[in-house]
């Protein structure tokens, strides 16, 4: 027995909705869903209702609920909610008997789609969400049709037509429906480990740097673009060192040294990919926080109250040169020169010795950098694992490392020599995307450098890595170290076409993230300004929504009220209709009750001149229609009739 179409579509839609979560969902749940679906399918095919008893179903339900609780410790939140929804939906499959149950299943599937949309908004996934939603609408048709067979083509056509007609309204509402400025209530979500900068740095523990091509953020400059060597993107600032790992300052706040900005001002917009941390990146040195909810900490980090779980975009202004005439407080001085006791003894001794010989701070810094330059230090992405006195090991043993090693060692030496210093992490560089008109900064552009306090000038950036590999600052990591690229990227770089495709895709992706996913109240107000509203307000958005609604409904009704005559697949019938229309335009419409013969007779009576032209064709039509003719001659005569008809209608000789 065939599976009823309503059931089949319901199963398909549910399966599709579960598949949207397949990679995040623990296997238990989608296996349960698959098992229930197969059971249902098999049961429907046999036409027998041999579904599990209520007790077994309750047992399975409790089991799955316990599974969710064990796995997530809560049922509140996106991931546990999804798991719960999938398991309850699977169970519902085992008791769908009536249409009502099937509608409930479609609701569950749409809910799962919503959860997926809340979870991830990548451009490649969006069509899947829309697809599952459209399939759910088709399923509604088949569930409603019951035992009646509906041809697939008409069901699909009807759904697509309906959904297409809905698109203009969706776009208008998307643009103009007033959005709230912030979150009304928060969705508990678990932090997933994303690649990217963390709030600690352990250079000695890394033997291979990640080569992730994933974008960290994209930058669009308004006006001047800083030279490549100045493109330092400031992220977490690390103060605490235990001899092996650098961490952010916790619990202590110092006075922020006031900055004097100099040099050109760069205005730009950053589209930041989610990284689950609280920090925003900015070109060194931003003039302030971009908007409410983000503040600048005493060490010039931009920190937001909420973790960055979705793409955020913000506009900033930065100057690449700063100075501060303030004095460093004694407390801050102590913190910025503290080192763990009894760790890295050789380095500490070396720094003190060096400082004794070079008393001025500038001379000391230069001496340390000279040490890196002169003693065979090299840059590598695959350093050796260092022992617990990591700076000693690096400075006197391995002498090969990446930016983290150099920053860590440099700051340690500075602090040992009595100069306040700290590690700054972030990104350096950025790749120009000519199609999107922005710079893309990838995870592989991650960088670490140092900041030292110089009295009278304030915190100043020193990049020890630049001393070892000066090209790194101007040419990018990939050109300096051939092995530093993933295979695909390396391959793509060799082929201009492929590179071009990659850039295009990234530009489309960026557009999607910036314009669609990042569309918010601020974008709406910008749109209003573009439309000529000088002082954008919520109320204007409301009026626009109302206007769009009215226009759309009127257009819809007009569009649908235009009745089209039924499509004729029969070429002979088309000929006949055209012939009748031809006469109708000349004042002799064929009455609905008139057959071709009666019409011909009336034509002859009323309009002999017109009849003389039309009658031969009409007669031919009657013959072709009502007398048996061999198919090949019939086709030939039909062609001739159509030709004659064209000649009649358009006067073509």
């Amino acid at each position: 027995m065939r599976l009823p179409a309503g059931s089949a579509w319901m199963l398909g839609v549910f399966a599709g909705a579960v598949a949207l979560h397949a990679d995040r969902l623990p296997p238990l749940y989608w296996l349960a869903a698959a098992a229930c679906a197969v059971w249902r399918w098999y049961d429907d095919r046999r036409g027998a209702q041999r579904l599990p008893s209520i007790w077994l179903r309750v047992l399975i339900a409790l089991g799955l609920l316990a599974g969710v609780l064990l796995q997530y410790r809560t049922v509140n939140g996106l991931a546990p909610g999804t798991a719960l929804l999938v398991s309850m939906g699977s169970l519902k499959l085992l008791e769908t008997r009536r249409d009502r149950d099937r509608y409930v299943m479609i609701g569950v599937a749409l809910f799962l789609t919503l959860a997926a949309a809340l979870d991830r908004q990548a451009l490649l996934r969006a069509p899947l969400y829309f697809g599952v939603t459209a399939a759910a609408c088709v399923a509604l048709i088949y569930i409603g049709a019951g035992a009646t067979t509906v041809p697939l083509r008409s069901a699909l056509g009807l759904t697509l037509r309906t959904l297409l007609l809905a698109v203009p309204l969706a776009i208008a509402l998307f643009l103009f429906f007033p959005r709230p400025a912030g979150t009304l209530w928060a969705l508990p979500r678990e932090t997933t480990a994303l690649t990217g900068l963390g709030d600690s740095m352990t250079p000695g523990g890394i033997s291979q740097l990640s080569e992730s091509d994933a974008p960290a953020f994209r930058v669009r400059f308004f006006g001047a673009v800083p030279p490549p060597a100045e493109r330092y993107w400031r992220g977490p600032v690390l103060h605490d060192f235990d001899g092996y790992t650098w961490r952010r300052e916790r619990g202590r706040i110092y006075r922020m040294a006031t900055l004097e900005y100099s040099g050109p001002a760069y205005r730009y917009k950053i589209m930041l990919e989610p990284h689950e941390g609280h920090w925003y990146f900015a070109l060194e040195m931003p003039t302030g926080a971009p908007h409410a909810g983000v503040f600048m900490s005493f060490d010039y980090q931009l920190l937001s109250a909420e973790p960055v779980t979705e793409v955020v975009s913000y506009e900033l202004t930065s100057h690449t040169a700063t100075r501060s005439r303030d004095a460093l407080s004694a407390l801050a001085q102590r913190s910025a020169t503290s080192l763990p006791p009894n760790r890295n003894p050789r380095s500490v001794a070396f720094a003190r010795e060096l400082r004794r010989r070079h008393a001025p701070v500038d001379a000391f810094i230069e001496a340390v950098l000279e040490h890196f330059r002169a003693n065979g230090f090299s840059y590598t992405l695959t350093p050796e694992i260092l022992d617990l006195d990591s700076v000693d090991d690096f400075l006197f043993n391995t002498r090969a490392g990446f930016c983290g090693h150099y920053a860590s060692a440099f700051v340690t030496l500075m602090r040992a020599g009595g100069v306040p210093a700290r590690v700054v992490t972030g990104y350096h560089g950025g790749e120009w995307n000519p199609i999107g008109g922005y710079y893309i900064v990838r995870q592989s552009d991650a960088h670490a450098w140092a900041e030292v306090w110089i009295d009278g000038r304030g915190w100043q950036r020193i990049d020890p890595t630049a001393v070892v590999v000066p090209e790194r600052l101007t040419r990018g990591l990939y050109d300096v170290i051939p092995g530093a690229q993933s295979g695909v990227a390396r391959f793509a770089r060799r082929l201009p076409l492929l590179q071009r495709l990659r850039e295009s895709w990234d530009a489309i992706d960026a557009w999607w993230q910036e314009r669609i996913i990042g569309f918010d109240l601020r974008s709406q107000f910008a749109l209003l300004r573009g439309l000529g509203f000088d002082a954008p307000q919520w109320r204007q958005l409301g009026w626009l929504v109302a206007a769009a609604l009215v226009v759309w409904i009127v257009a819809l009704l007009v569009l649908m009220a235009r009745e089209r005559p039924p499509r004729l697949n029969d070429p002979l019938a088309v000929c006949y209709r055209r012939l009748c229309n031809y006469c109708a335009r000349r004042g002799v419409p064929r009455a609905p009750h008139e057959g071709a013969q009666a019409f011909a007779a009336r034509l002859r009576r009323e309009r002999p001149a017109l009849a003389a032209r039309v009658l031969p064709l009409l007669r031919e039509y009657v013959e072709l229609r009502y007398t048996p003719i061999a198919p090949d001659t019939g086709a030939q005569r039909l062609r001739r009739l159509r030709r004659e008809l064209r000649r009649l209608r358009f006067g073509v000789a």
């Binding site: 249409d99 009502r100 509608y103 409930v104 609701g107 749409l110 809910f111 789609t113 919503l114 949309a117 809340l118 908004q121 969006a126 969400y129 829309f130 939603t133 609408c137 509604l140 048709i141 569930i143 409603g144 049709a145 009646t148 009807l158 309906t162 959904l163 007609l165 809905a166 698109v167 203009p168 309204l169 969706a170 509402l173 998307f174 429906f177 959005r179 709230p180 912030g182 979150t183 009304l184 209530w185 969705l187 979705e310 669609i516 996913i517 990042g518 569309f519 918010d520 759309w552 409904i553 819809l556 009704l557 649908m560 009745e563 039924p566």
Partner: protein, 327 residues
């Protein structure tokens, strides 16, 4: 509490039905379903779907999630269009004619509506009466289709036809569009033809005591043109085959067998039994080809035969003692 709410609901429904009846008036055929008599409301599934879309929008607005908002707005538009499509599935549909055939008590009476769809193809139409439902898959564009519904009957009598709901949830089952039809029809339910008494002797026999039952041979007195209600058995088919108009043989009254079916002669039975017996006799007499007269208190049908006469006789039996219905 539950009973109270149900009573309240019934009362409200009755009020509403009466209001609609007064608003629309009685329907004359043929009629076109125009906007002013079409009603549309979301179904249960439609309400659920709407709630889901609202939830999507709330989630999208709350989390500033553009994708959820886009999905939600898209489905809002979808709901709107679905509403219009469902409405259009009924709008402009024409009810060309309707027939309601009588039935014997216990059998099903047949209500048949001839629907035509001048503008476009219509799908999944449903007819609903309090006592029965029927379904029609499609009415082709420019074509017509017959929607038939079997109405169960219980007792003989004349019943005003309840209002008819013609509805559709096509295509997505999210909205139900419907209209109420108030057709000026009466459902006539004949008494069950049942009884053991023998057919009374023919009128002549009773009067003169001559020719035995059923022996009357057909001696025709002439031809006359066919009239509606004439028995096909009397049509001169041979003449029709020669492309002449339909003619019917006329018999001289004296030679045809003529029976008298009289209510008053059925002593010892109550009224309903007598009516049932009379119905039995009408059918038997007609089957035999005899002419028969019917006498009921206050009713007098002269002797005749043929389907029209049979119908008239059975009708009288059905409505005997019933007041004219309130229409």
């Amino acid at each position: 509490m539950h009973a109270l709410s149900r009573r309240l609901r019934t009362r409200l429904a009755t009020r509403f039905a009466r209001w609609i009846r007064a608003r629309q008036g009685e329907d004359r055929l043929p009629l076109t379903l125009r906007r002013n008599r079409l009603y549309i409301l979301p179904t249960r599934a439609g309400l659920g779907f709407t709630a889901l879309v609202v939830m999507m929008l709330l989630a999208g607005l709350n989390y500033g999630n553009s994708l959820a908002l886009l999905l939600g707005f898209w489905l809002i538009g979808f709901l709107f269009v679905a509403l219009v499509i469902t409405h259009r599935n009924l709008q402009g549909l024409q009810l060309a004619s309707a027939t309601l055939s009588p039935a014997f008590a216990g059998d099903a009476a047949r209500l048949s509506l001839q629907l035509t769809a001048p503008q476009r193809r219509r799908y999944a139409l449903q007819l609903s009466l309090p006592s029965a439902t029927a379904r029609l898959d499609a009415v082709d564009c420019g074509g017509s289709a017959r929607l038939e519904c079997a109405l169960p009957t219980v007792r003989r009598g004349r019943y005003p036809l309840e209002r008819i709901g013609l509805q559709s949830t096509f295509p997505f089952g999210l909205f139900r569009a419907w209209t109420w039809l108030h057709l000026p029809f009466e459902l006539i339910v004949y008494p069950v033809p049942r009884g053991v008494r023998a057919l009374p002797a023919s009128a002549e026999e009773a009067d003169q005591g001559s020719a035995p039952l059923g022996a009357g041979h057909d001696e025709w007195s002439g031809l006359r043109p066919f009239r509606d209600g004439d028995s096909p058995r009397r049509v001169v088919w041979t003449a029709y085959a020669r492309e002449l108009p339909l003619f019917v043989k006329e018999y001289s009254g004296a030679s045809a067998e003529s029976l008298l079916l009289d209510f008053d002669r059925l002593g010892g039975l109550d009224t309903e039994r007598r009516l049932e017996q009379l119905a039995r006799w009408v059918i038997d007499a007609e089957r035999r080809g005899a002419r028969y007269a019917l006498r009921l208190p206050g009713v007098r049908l002269d002797a005749d035969s043929g389907p029209a006469h049979r119908r008239r006789a059975l009708h009288e039996l059905a409505v005997f003692g019933c007041a004219e219905s309130g229409r």
